[in-house]
Structures are given as C-alpha cells and as structure tokens.
C-alpha cells in the first residue's frame, strides 16, 4: 500500500489552527530554517483512511490469540483506556504545584504500595519507561549501594546463559563486567557454576524466575543465599512475574531489587512497542538509592520526596504516568485474590496448551511448567525439513500470532508459548487444533509450510536485504 508521502497533494491541509489574534512576530531571520520539512499534505479524510488501512494490517490482542512467549500478551481491558484518557490525568502538567496534583501523587503512591506488597519490596520507582530501562536502573542501584559501602571491587554481574539479552546488555550499560554462567539443561541455575563464579568481585546476580524455559527454579532460596553470602545482591527480572503473583514474592525468594513490566504482567497495552513501564522495586538495602522524585504520604496528603542517596533521574519527570494509572486500575480490579487467580490460570493455560500440543511438539522440559513453555521442533526439522520458523509463519495464516521463535538459545528449533490467563479453554482448544494441523501437514506437504504465510497482507520479508542496504526513510527523489 502507498506511503503517506505518496498520498500527499501540494496545498492540501486540515484547518486546525486559528488565525493569529496578536501582532505577527516573525523569528529573526538568521535563526530560520531554509526549507520547510517535506511533511505530507493531506485532508482529514485521507488521514482517516490511511490509518484505518494500516490498522487493518495489524494483529492486536483484540484480533485474536497472541501466545508470544515472554511477552505476556494478556487482554487489555477497555476500562483502562477510558481512565487514562480522563482530563484529570491527561490534562495535568508535570510541574504543577503539588497541591493541585494530589490525585496523581495518590496514583503513584498507591500503585507503589500495592506493587511492593506483590513483590515483597520496600519502595518502588515508576521512572523507568520499560523493562530494560528498569534493569539499568536496578543495576545502578546495586552499583550505588556497593560504592556507598566503599566496596569498589564489586564490578561483576553474574548472568545465566539462558537470560534475556537485555540482562547482559543492561549490566554492560551500567558499567559492570558480565559473567555468563552456563545453566542446567532445564534452564535452572547450575549451583556449582554459581558457587564457582561468586567472589569478592561479585556485585550481583540477575535472574528471572520462572526461567526462560518456563520452570520455577526449585533451588531459588539456595541461589540467592549463595550470592548474598558472597556479598552480592540479587536482581529479579520481572519478565515472568505473571506466573507467581500471590504465589511467591521475589522479596521472599531473596531478591533485593525487582523490575516489573507493567505492560506485561499488569495488563497495560503494549502499543506496538511501547509506551511501557519498567517499575523498579527495591528492598530495604537499596531503597535509599532510588531515583528522584518519589511520591509519598505527607501531612494527610502526598508529596514528592528525594530518597536520601538517590542515584538521580533516569528519565524526565515521573515515568510513563498514564501507564501506571492503567496498572493501578488493574490491581484494584483483581485485588489480592484476583492476582493469584490470574497467575494460577496463566499457569494452568500454559500446561493445558502444552498437553494438547505435546503429541506433535515435544516440550523442551518434562513436568509441569509455569506460565509459559518451550517446545523443540528439532526432530520435525530433521525429518521433514520444516523449521520452527515455517511453523510460526503457517500460524499466521490461521489468525494466530506466532509464539516467540528460537528463544531461549539453549533449545534448538524452539517455539515458546505463553497463552496467558485471559484466553479461554475454547481458544486454546481451537489454537491447538490449528497448530497440530500445521505440524501434521509438515510431513505430508512440507512445501506448503515453506511457502507460508499466504493470506497475510505481505509475504515473508527479505530481512537480509533490509539490513545489507538499509532504507530507513522515504526518498522523495525516487518519485
């Protein structure tokens, strides 16, 4: 379909702004730009149809099943969007006098208290805008803590090789050296490897639990103890919290700092890649170092305060506030009972789908999984030539968003499914039938899978060409 620039007609416009009701004062000409930007010129009807057509080329959670592993694509309630759009939230300037923003401060303070209760942390910041941003923040807290103690030797962060790629990248950004340790075949921490890795240079460990294979590490208390005993701190990557809300708290597991993806676990929408919110909760040791400012109860109301040893700011203002509004609405709706029910059913749905697929798509691990699971299609590939990618692409033709592909790296031909608790049994039954149908077809007609998808607006893109000769913007001169 045409780009918006290809629909532009010189002179066309929308009548949005009024004539100037004060004397026109042009900028001093030495500051002026030479040529106007070549923005598109359209009428409102053109805009409406352009973006309607684009919306028709997107698969959202409202369109159907979205079992993208590690991303927790649960349903985003309509109420949240309504509340986030309230003028009382959306129309507030971040630098208003504090007595005029008591409602905003209450949102931040209450969301903090509730999320601390869920995670077992002491205090929380909402400044980080995404999970990776939260990781950086959490690591900076750890760094500030050791520095504050005068311990300059702790320069290393231990990361299992099954971790999300953000973990080592964040550690590196925070100026740490990364120590990769191999994990056991089930993705759990190899205790011996961990013991061998810790030492006086250990700043901390980054871990997600359940791990990226969807297993809860049964040695979790030993793991965190080993790190603590070595003088390090434990960082909880909250990517997989959806399995354990109300079931087990990272704080109780021995973690000192936690980041949450409100846009995953707490049902705020992902917007095609943000805005998210990577709230970071800190235990007693790290709370004094949290970013500034932080909303807190004060004199019958709320006020901003700066934690005593704050690392500073990691973003302007207070984070993606409207995302916090949505998350607060979600938590108040579910309550303590509802949160654990959500996790239990997320786990049930994953196990149920895993059981339905197992005859055709062997799980990478035996036993019960948590909220997600990984299958390996290594044998399928060997026998039919059909890859995990082919299977994923064939799912597009069924109206199912494919699972996460080729992750974790320790599993060959991996597909990682996370159905979430907001899918019904019927949806899982239907999806399983579709997927097993594809897997059966792999033997009979592998070519049809190599050719998938057929019904999508575009076919498989040539990603190599895209990267080799990057075209990152529209070229007007190619018209």
């Amino acid at each position: 379909m045409k780009l918006i620039f290809e629909k532009s007609v010189p002179g066309r416009c929308c009548a949005l702004l009024p004539a100037c009701d004060v004397p026109v004062r042009p900028l001093e000409s030495r500051f002026a730009r030479k040529d106007p930007p070549r923005l598109p010129e359209l009428s409102e009807v053109d805009l409406s149809r352009h973006y309607t057509a684009l919306a028709g080329r997107v698969h959202g959670v409202n369109d159907g099943f979205y079992p993208l592993g590690s991303c927790t694509m649960k349903y985003n309630p309509a109420l949240h969007e309504e509340l986030a759009a309230l003028p009382g939230f959306a129309g507030v300037h971040p630098l208003q006098p504090q007595h005029t923003v008591q409602g905003c401060l209450e949102v931040l303070a209450r969301a903090e208290a509730l999320l601390c209760e869920v995670t077992g942390m002491e205090q929380m910041t909402f400044q980080p805008a995404a999970g990776a941003h939260g990781e950086l923040t959490g690591l900076l807290l750890i760094k500030a803590y050791h520095r504050d103690r005068g311990d300059a030797a702790r320069t290393k962060i231990i990361v299992p090789d099954s971790a999300h790629g953000t973990n080592p990248a964040s550690a590196s950004m925070a100026g740490f050296e990364v120590v990769n340790i191999p994990s056991a075949p089930d993705g759990c921490v190899d205790l011996e490897a961990l013991r061998a890795a810790v030492g006086p240079d250990t700043a901390g460990l980054m871990l997600t639990n359940p791990n990226t294979l969807g297993l809860f590490d049964r040695n979790i208390l030993q793991i965190t103890r080993i790190v603590h005993e070595a003088g390090g701190l434990n960082y909880y990557d909250g990517a997989n919290l959806n399995a354990v809300m109300g079931v087990a708290r990272p704080g109780d597991m021995g973690f000192d700092v936690v980041h949450l993806n409100l846009h995953k676990t707490f049902s705020t929408p992902h917007g095609g890649g943000g805005p998210g919110s990577g709230a970071v909760g800190a235990g007693a040791l790290l709370a004094p170092f949290l970013p500034a400012p932080r909303a807190a109860a004060a004199g019958g109301g709320y006020a901003f305060e700066t934690p005593p040893k704050s690392i500073g700011t990691v973003k302007a203002f207070y984070g993606n506030f409207l995302v916090v509004v949505r998350a607060l609405a979600y938590i108040l709706t579910l309550g303590g009972d509802g949160l654990s029910e959500a996790s239990e059913n997320a786990v049930l749905n994953a196990n149920y789908l895993k059981a339905l697929l197992a005859p055709y798509a062997p799980p990478a691990c035996a036993g019960v999984c948590m909220h997600e699971f990984v299958v390996t299609l290594e044998r399928l590939k060997k026998e039919t030539g059909v890859t995990a990618l082919d299977v994923a692409k064939a799912m597009l033709d069924c109206g199912i968003h494919p699972p996460t592909m080729y992750f974790p790296l320790i599993v060959h031909e991996a597909l990682m499914f996370e159905p979430t608790e907001t899918e019904s049994k019927e949806t899982l039954d239907w999806a399983a039938a579709q997927i097993t149908g594809i897997l059966r077809r792999a033997a009979e007609d592998p070519q049809s899978l190599h050719a998938a998808p057929c019904t999508t607006p575009v076919g498989r893109p040539d990603e190599v060409a895209a990267a080799r000769a990057p075209k990152l913007r529209y070229r007007f001169d190619t018209l």
């Binding site: 100037c20 030479k34 949160l339 049930l348 575009v458 076919g459 990152l472």
Partner: protein, 439 residues
C-alpha cells in the same frame, strides 16, 4: 471479584484433569513451601463500577487548569481530534513490538513514515523508532559518541535540568565523566566551551531553544565542537524545529528531542517520546528499534525491523544500548500529528507560538519590574521575566483565576505561550499581574 479470566470453574477443572494434576496447588510444587502463597495485604477484587468510580475520584483530586502558561519541558499544544481517534484504534494499542512483519505492516509502515518525518524535521539522514523521552534520548546520544579515544561528555548548563541529570546518571553508571558548560546571560557560554574542549571529549550537547527559551547560535557551537574533534548533539523542540535552522544546517551529528509537543497530552509527565536522528556516518550506532524497507516473497514493498545486529538480543553484553520496548504508540502519535498539521500547520503553530509569546512579553513589559531577564536574546515561545513581586505571590493569584503561570526559576519566572493561549487569556494574565504588582 474482578477478573478477566474467561474459563469457568467447570472448564478449569476439566483442564486440570487434562493436564493431569489434582489442583492448582500441585502446579506450584517447585515453589519452596515456606514462601508459597503469601497472604497479600490488599483488598479483594472489585467490580468495574467501583474501580471506575475510585480512579475518577483520584482524577478529580487534580486540578486541570483552563489556561496554561507553563512549559519547561512539557508543552500544552493543541491536539487535533484525528490524532486521538487514530491512535486509540485497538489494533495499534494492543499489539506487541512488530516482530512478525507479515501481520504488523500497519505498525511498521507507520514507524517508517515517522522516521522519515523526523528526518525531515531535523534535516538528518536517519532516525530510530523512538526512545523513552527527550532526556534519555540525550543520554543515548552521548553514548553513541563514545569510543576508545573519546569519552568525556559536555553538556550545556542551559539544557533542561532533567536532561542534564539523566545524562549524568547514565554516564556515571558507565563510568564516564560529564562536564557542564556554563550559561551567561541566558545563553550557553561559547568561550567557556572552547576553553573546556579537550582531545578526549566525545561530544557536546546543546539545547535549542534552551531551557530559558533563548535561541542559541547553534552553528557556532557546532563549528567549535567539530574543531575539537568531538561530536555535536542538538536537543531540539519539534514545534520550533519547523521554523528554526535544522540541526543538520547547524552541523549537528545527532539531533534528539522530546516529542511530547507532537500530539501527546501533558499527562503529568508521560508517556512522552524521545526522538533521535543522526548523520549517515552514525546510523549504525543508533540505539533501539529501526524500521527499514525491503521486499517480500511476492516482490512487493514491505517493512521490517532491521539492523538488529546492533541490538541486545543479538549482541547481549556487547550491545551499546539495552533498549527494546520504546514508545511506539507515541511515535505513531507524532506521525499522525505531523501528517495532520502538514508543513503549513507546523509553520503556523510555530508562528503562533512566537507571536503570542512576544505579545505576552511585551504586554508584561508594560508593568515596571517585569523586565525580560535576557533582553538581548531572541526567543521562541518561552522567556524569563524578572518580577516586581515574589514569584510565588503572583503565581498564587493566577492559580486562583484558574491560570497556571510560568515556572519560578533563578532569574524570575519562565513563561511559555502556545497557539492554545488566546489574546484574551494573555490579556487577562497581564491584568492580574498588574493588579498583583500594584497591591
């Protein structure tokens, strides 16, 4: 109890049987007994009616001012209705990052269009699909400029305080030195910069217009920075950018900025949008998502996330940034905004801002004591005046009339005027200011 779980009790029982476990409890056998099922000290779930009422009550505890003369990093511009309508479409709102290009062309194309518009606005060669906000964009830009031989980061003290502190936090984490270039008469001190610049410097960050609303002689800074072998980063206001010499024209290597003015509501500070664009030489160092054009298996034009070899999921600890989720829906918002405004609308907005800001400045100037703090400086839509009375007294009087006045700063009050402020509102503000000055 509130819940968004569709499966009924009966279905759940059936599913447990299919899985082969006797109970939910059994699913959690791996969780150590002593930490299992803590009692969460919070209320039980509530109905939608109750939660809606409770959040509405919180919103009602905030005051939404009917006229706003405060900017300082968050700007009250008019948001065209079509922008809100388009970006509320559920498909855009509820989708994940567009990993699966075949069913994500809508998002991918909109971001490709956004990247192009940011390039046009800044004059740069390439843009990414957004970072978190203007402050983190500055920090990420500084990181792009570092290499083995260049490390120190110079920042104008006339940059927004949040930008300065965020750059500092990021740099301190990475063990990088930050130095501030002082301000003189509301402008960044070019001579001081020249004195500071040294061989190991990575970059200098200049904000245009700066925090005090003042226009800097950006090209001169660019020349000085390049002469020292460092990179020149400009932080720009996107509405002003429609009128001002582009970062490219000023010699910038990287242009960044806070995209909130492009159609995002004030929202108590977020979600906002960090935009980033750079020269052709640097584009492979851009952090975050980037969308590129390619062809599909049918030979048709299509779009994909590209240059992923830069990113954390491939490079892990060798990645230069950890960003993955960005502000995609805000980037789309900015794109719809720019498309709705078009070049004419953007120019008109800029002209209205400048004209109205100068009108307020001149009207305020009628009252003794309200002198411009930096009378020789040209400004865009923000400016500082000294005040004949304690700023808080004036601001309180304005607040009582439902007007959010400017922000108190060292030299007085930092005012902001946009196309939304009518002459009537401005005149009313001046009237109150005169009353307070007289009292």
């Amino acid at each position: 109890m509130g819940s968004y779980i569709p499966s009924t009790g009966a279905q759940r029982e059936e599913m447990l049987r299919a899985v082969g476990v006797p109970s939910f409890e059994a699913l959690y056998a791996d969780v150590p007994q002593e930490i299992r099922f803590p009692e969460l000290k919070m209320g039980t779930g509530r109905s939608e009616l109750e939660v809606a009422a409770e959040l509405r009550a919180m919103a009602a505890k905030n005051h939404v001012f009917s006229s706003i003369f405060r900017g300082a990093g968050a700007y009250d511009h008019y948001i065209p209705s079509i922008v809100k309508r388009v970006t509320a479409k559920e498909e855009f709102v509820t989708a994940y990052t567009p990993y699966q290009a075949e069913i994500s062309q809508g998002i991918l194309q909109s971001i490709f269009e956004y990247q192009t518009m940011i390039c046009e606005l800044t004059g740069m060669d390439a843009a990414n699909a957004s970072v978190y906000d203007g402050a983190t964009a500055a920090a990420e830009a500084a990181a792009m400029c570092r290499d083995r031989r260049h490390s120190r980061v110079l920042v104008s003290a006339a940059a927004h305080p949040a930008v300065r502190s965020t750059v500092r936090t990021y740099c301190e984490g990475a063990g990088v030195e930050v130095a501030e270039v002082p301000v003189r008469d509301g402008r960044t001190d070019l001579e001081a910069l020249q004195g500071l610049l040294a061989a190991g410097d990575a970059c200098f960050y200049l904000q245009q217009p700066n925090f005090y609303g003042v226009l800097e002689d950006a090209a001169a800074f660019g020349a000085a920075v390049h002469a020292a072998g460092a990179k020149f980063i400009m932080g720009v206001d996107p509405i002003a950018a429609a009128a001002l010499a582009t970062p490219a024209e000023c010699g910038a290597d990287i242009a960044v900025g806070e995209g909130q003015p492009l159609g995002m509501p004030l929202s108590f500070g977020g979600p906002y949008l960090g935009f980033m664009a750079c020269t052709h030489e640097l584009f492979r160092k851009l952090p975050g998502r980037i969308v590129g054009e390619t062809t599909d298996s049918r030979g048709e034009r299509c779009f994909v996330l590209t240059l992923q070899a830069r990113e954390q999921h491939i490079r892990r600890e060798k990645a230069s940034s950890n960003i993955c989720s960005n502000e995609a829906l805000c980037a789309m918002t900015a794109a719809v905004y720019m498309a709705a405004m078009g070049p004419q609308g953007m120019a008109q907005a800029a002209q209205l801002c400048t004209s109205k800001a100068h009108y307020l400045a001149s009207r305020l100037g009628e009252t003794p004591g309200f002198e411009l703090a930096y009378p020789k400086a040209e400004f865009f839509h923000e400016f500082v005046t000294r005040t004949p009375v304690e700023p808080q007294r004036l601001l309180k009087a304005l607040e009582e009339q439902d007007i959010l006045g400017g922000l108190p700063v060292e030299d007085g009050i930092l005012w902001c005027v946009t196309e939304k402020n009518t002459k009537e509102q401005i005149d009313r503000l001046v009237e109150i200011a005169q009353e307070v000055a007289r009292a």
